[in-house]
Symmetry: C2
Subunit: 232 residues, 2 copies
């Protein structure tokens, strides 16, 4: 019983070019769920019995090492498919998905995936492209991690977040969901201490404006310079 209207999701790339009737049919099979802020959509290691599309909100995908360290894999924006473990033949989720604000997701049982793909070959193509672009992202990240200084990595991460989920305000571009220094540290492979120091320094130079779980970019252009290693 999805309370989600077709018009809400028709524009999502996954459903691009799908006839309205087919889309309605798919939505009928979907379960829609609300996840309050800071609750998990699924946890790393659980059986992968569903895949998801984010309708409203923001979801953080994170991965934990055996000894408990966390890294943030990515932030999911509305319209994106996530938890694609079933599509890539994983039986268990390789990461944890947590709603960072109140969020609404559509969920389909894993068993539906092969059937959907058979009926709508474009879904396979679309999924392939999504996973492909995430692979690109991941490789870019590996490159940054191995070749760039921490400060540049943090700049890159903030610019990427702003691009993906930035909201224009009077003073600049604010990241549209709560994000802590710890989160940024886990995205960039450093410690919250170092992130805090870097952001403090930038704040003094007027490049960013901080706050509790809040980051706004005041001077994206200068930040881009830092990200590219052309610091002044």
């Amino acid at each position: 019983m999805a309370a989600i209207d077709r018009t809400t999701v028709a524009a999502f790339p996954l459903f691009a070019g799908m006839p309205a009737a087919d889309l309605d049919e798919m939505l009928r099979e979907a379960r829609s769920a609300h996840h309050p802020k800071n609750t998990a959509v699924f946890e790393q290691g659980e059986p992968a019995d569903a895949f998801f599309v984010l309708v409203h909100g923001h979801v953080r995908a994170s991965k934990a090492t055996p000894d408990g360290q966390q890294i943030v894999v990515r932030y999911v924006s509305p319209g994106e498919i996530f938890g694609v473990a079933p599509a890539i033949a994983l039986t268990h989720y390789p990461a944890t998905a947590t709603a960072v604000v109140d969020s609404v997701v559509l969920a389909w049982p894993s068993s539906a995936w092969p059937r959907f793909v058979a009926h709508h070959p474009t879904m396979a193509t679309s999924a392939l492209q999504t996973v492909g672009s995430r692979l690109q992202e991941a490789h870019t990240r590996v490159m940054e991690m191995t070749t760039e200084q921490v400060e540049r990595r943090v700049a890159h991460a903030l610019l990427r977040l702003a691009k993906q989920s930035g909201r224009k305000t009077a003073e600049g571009i604010e990241i549209d969901f709560p994000i802590s220094r710890q989160d940024v540290a886990e995205m960039t492979g450093t410690t919250l201490h170092t992130v805090s120091r870097i952001l403090s320094a930038w704040e003094q130079r007027g490049l960013v404006s901080g706050g509790r779980q809040r980051i706004a970019l005041l001077d994206p252009h200068k930040l881009f310079g830092i990200a590219e290693g052309k610091d002044g």
Copy 2:
């Protein structure tokens, strides 16, 4: 004019379950090419006008930063598809593929991909799983890079190489293609100096045996211990 026989490639996962006639048809469209040691199959930034399957040999996929630093993305083993840029909607190759030994590849023009997928939906599924597992690899690597010491990362890298392309010898498991300290450094995000120091130390402890572009694991079990942080 592919000089490649069906039986050579029938076992490759990409073609799993494909009728012999269809496979023959696909092979007819393929161009087979020999790439001598240390020559490029394709270069980063070139238009992605083909995708490939490795038949014999070993191919290194590497990526360069704008300022010329290299990282090794992965080593391709026989039977694997690579250069999948066309399948994930990239117009240019994001990395360079270099034969590290004399190698034989099959190549299909990019334009063939959509047609193949339409005729053989299992190819899309297979490609999705391949890209998915590479995504997993990449995330694992990001995790290792951010949470593990250099020595552990090197141990992990060697174990992975041995698993993927190890050849049992009298003394242990030898990596089946020429690989330099520099290559290992570019896989693990460190410098060849550090890799050299680490391997020298291990050689003295009898864990590995080195040589010019040669690495053999004499005591994989102890190496695994190091990789997991349980060093003695």
